[in-house]
């Protein structure tokens, strides 16, 4: 719900503050191996589906495939999946109907919609139908993986914490204070939100597009790489005077904040 609610917010107006994001379990460091997800890929193009299955397997997840909407709906109704990847155009039953049916049954399994239709209206329609995230084809696999993992690891909003910590870096969401090793770090509002989002997803890879969508609530192509400069300014504030860097660049994908090797 988290990502969906923040995305729906942007359609309502000026609320640029993303809704409170997924929970960061502080014990996450180094847990990637034991955090395998069961993913259902509902995609009618065999080559794409098999590529996703193979790639997700390489990243330690398992993926089942369904080639049409009806098969996908009946598999998804079992409710044993962590994330659904749903193509929008499917034979028999289209992707949005699959998600609508699941939501009508009370199934809240996070769903990532894949679509060749990438316009502003299509995204809004996808999220209104109950999708949690929307990715336009063609996409970079690293982008898809980051989003699937972000969806799979989030928890219900009521479980969200008021305090995030990665190593000795602490962000207190009540007082809006950020400290590292007990030392207060002064951040601009936007830098604070950037750090908040990164820490919500500590240990996960967060792509530039995800940052643009969730921290800025922009769903358009910024043309040049504007995010990197913002991240490096944040990095200068939280990492520069400390021995151990926490904010890492993941080549070809994005960023991650974690206590440990990148």
């Amino acid at each position: 719900m988290t990502s969906s609610s923040s995305s729906v917010n942007h359609t309502a107006g000026l609320s640029r503050r993303p809704a409170a994001g997924p929970l960061n379990r502080e014990s996450r460091e180094g847990q990637d191996q034991n955090n395998a997800m069961r993913v259902l890929v509902i995609e009618d193009d065999k080559e794409t589906a098999q590529f996703l299955q193979k790639s997700l397997k390489e990243n330690g997840h398992t993926a089942d495939l369904a080639a049409d909407g009806e098969a996908g709906l009946s598999l998804a109704s079992d409710g044993t999946y962590d994330v659904l990847i749903v193509d929008r155009m499917l034979p028999h039953l289209d992707g949005l109907s699959v998600i609508k049916s699941l939501r009508a049954q009370g199934d809240r399994t996070p769903a990532l919609i894949l679509s060749a239709l990438g316009e502003v209206d299509d995204r809004v329609k996808g999220l209104r139908a109950g999708g949690d995230d929307y990715l336009t084809k063609p996409y970079a696999y690293s982008e898809l993986l980051a989003r699937v993992e972000a969806l799979g690891r989030r928890t219900a909003p009521e479980e969200q914490q008021t305090r995030y910590a990665v190593g000795d870096l602490v962000l207190d969401r009540l007082s809006h204070r950020v400290t590292r090793g007990g030392e207060h770090i002064l951040l601009q509002p936007r830098e604070y939100r950037l750090l908040e989002y990164l820490m919500q997803h500590a240990g996960q890879v967060v792509t530039r597009t995800m940052l643009l969508e969730h921290v800025w609530d922009y769903h358009f192509d910024p043309q040049t790489n504007v995010i990197d400069v913002h991240v490096s300014r944040l990095r200068a504030k939280i990492d520069k005077n400390f021995d151990k860097p926490l904010l890492h660049t993941v080549r070809g994908a994005g960023y991650t904040i974690r206590d440990g090797p990148a």
Partner: protein
């Protein structure tokens, strides 16, 4: 002669003629009912009048008979018969021999009729037989009396009325049909013009237009609308042609580069390492292609019509400032002084993401096409209200665009020669123009003395007073700032 017949036949087969013929037929039908009813009523009235007179006369004569017997009756009948008038009498005894009266015999039409009726007889002073009405009067067994009236005048009157109506109907139908033919002929001529124009347009001559009579009216309005539609179609067609030419250039060139990179990597004797580099470059090139493609699709979508689902109400000034701030580190690194002058409280109902895309494209263009790091390298982003028009402008002090090239620069895929070597899709400014058009506004390229200032004007209709109570999300969003 045959040509004329053909033309008449053609006119007669038209809708206009059919409609006027139907109108004439309907009018005649209604007139016939009215006239028929009047005729019937008049006839009834006259007949009643005659019958009344005859009954009164019969009563007088029967009282004569009672008072003076048969002789007195014969005398009275004889006297009345001699009067110059329309009265007709016949008095006979029981054997049938005539006693008095101006009729020569009992009219054969009445011999067996106890109630009387209409008959014709031959009057003395006329060659033609006259029409008359008579009733028998019952005066006992030994006398037979018939009292009648000549109704030739009424008949002649009725005849003349009938004739008048027949001639009238005839004239009416002929005039109506001729009128219908004339009207349909008139319309046909105009229609023929439209048909022949549309045929030549179908044959490929998109420049043809329907001639106008200049008199105004529905047909001219139709012709005008069709012409405007043709203008639009011609515009779209030439746009399409231009786009496909440009796609050929701007998509094929990077596709070719992509292919070249892959081939070069395959041929590279270093093997593995070269393959990796080649593949990475291939993906980069593919991403560029995707970007171009997405921009192209987005423009096409924007030109197809409004995007209703994603319209929002927001503070344009605040939003533009926000987007510009996203770019402020990037512009600073590129050596520009970025100044943002955003007038707050200009609330608009518009597509926020697309406006954001437009501002992003403009700032990106300003960074790309003007040189940073020099004295006076500055980019100015403004959001303001020009009377009731919400406006955004982005100005730089780069080389600018010569006035004669400005219109061209707004077109899809156009990259002025000076910029061909720079990265980019060439769609940035056209996308901005498409976003402005979507909001019923326009884009103006102005001189920034020196440099270029791009002004995006939204329609004044986009302007809203302030978010209403129904937009609670927006209010909450502002409160949260």
């Amino acid at each position: 002669m045959t040509a004329l017949l053909e033309r008449v036949a053609k006119a007669a087969s038209t809708t206009a003629f059919g409609l006027s013929a139907a109108a004439v037929a309907f009018f005649l039908f209604a007139a016939a009912i009215v006239v028929g009813f009047l005729f019937w009523q008049t006839n009834n009235l006259l007949t009643h009048q005659v019958l009344g007179v005859l009954t009164a006369e019969a009563r007088i004569l029967s009282s004569e008979m009672k008072v003076g017997g048969r002789a007195k009756l014969a005398e009275t009948v004889g006297a009345m018969s001699r009067l110059q008038g329309t009265g007709l009498y016949y008095l006979a005894d029981d054997s049938g021999a005539k006693i008095a009266g101006n009729l020569n015999r009992i009219p054969p039409e009445l011999t067996n009729d106890p109630h009387g009726g209409v008959f014709s007889y031959q009057p003395a002073g006329d060659n033609a037989p006259h029409l008359a009405v008579a009733i028998p009067v019952n005066l006992g067994a030994d006398v037979r009396l018939i009292v009648g009236r000549d109704i030739e005048d009424q008949r002649a009157f009725a005849d003349s009325i009938r004739w008048a109506f027949l001639v009238g109907f005839g004239v009416l139908s002929i005039a109506g049909l001729l009128g219908g033919l004339a009207v349909s002929r008139l319309i046909l001529n105009r229609m023929d013009a439209i048909t022949s124009t549309s045929r030549s347009i179908m044959d490929g001559d998109l420049a043809r237009r329907i001639p106008m009579s200049g008199r105004g009216g529905e047909l001219d309005a139709l012709a005008q609308n069709l012409n405007q539609m043709l203008d639009r179609i011609e515009g779209l067609m030439s746009g399409l042609r231009e786009v496909s030419d440009n796609i050929a250039h701007d998509l094929k060139t990077p596709l070719n580069r992509l292919r070249n990179a892959a081939e070069a990597a395959l041929r590279d004797p270093r093997g593995g390492e070269a393959y990796r580099e080649g593949l990475e470059r291939t993906i980069e090139r593919a991403d560029e292609l995707i970007k171009t493609f997405n921009a192209l699709l987005l423009i096409a979508r924007l030109e197809a019509g409004p995007l209703e689902e994603s319209i929002e109400t927001f503070d344009l000034g605040r939003f533009v400032e926000d987007v510009a701030e996203l770019y402020s580190p990037a512009t600073e690194e590129a050596g520009f002084a970025l100044s943002i002058e955003a007038e707050k409280g200009v609330f608009v109902r518009a597509n926020r993401q697309l406006i954001g895309q437009a501002v992003a494209n403009l700032i990106d263009n300003a960074i790309k096409y003007s040189r940073g790091g020099e004295p006076g390298s500055a980019i100015t982003v403004r959001a303001y209200r020009d009377n009731s028009t919400p406006a955004i402008s982005v100005g730089d002090h780069g080389p600018g665009i010569a006035p004669e090239n400005r219109e061209r620069a707004l077109k899809r895929f156009v990259r002025l020669e000076a910029s061909r070597t720079l990265p980019g899709t060439g769609l940035g400014l056209s996308l901005v123009a498409a976003v402005a058009r979507l909001h019923h506004g326009e884009v103006r390229l102005e001189d920034n003395f020196p440099g270029l200032k791009v002004v995006v004007l939204l329609s004044p209709k986009c302007l809203v007073a302030a978010p209403g109570a129904d937009d609670s999300d927006v209010a909450a969003g502002i409160a949260a700032q």
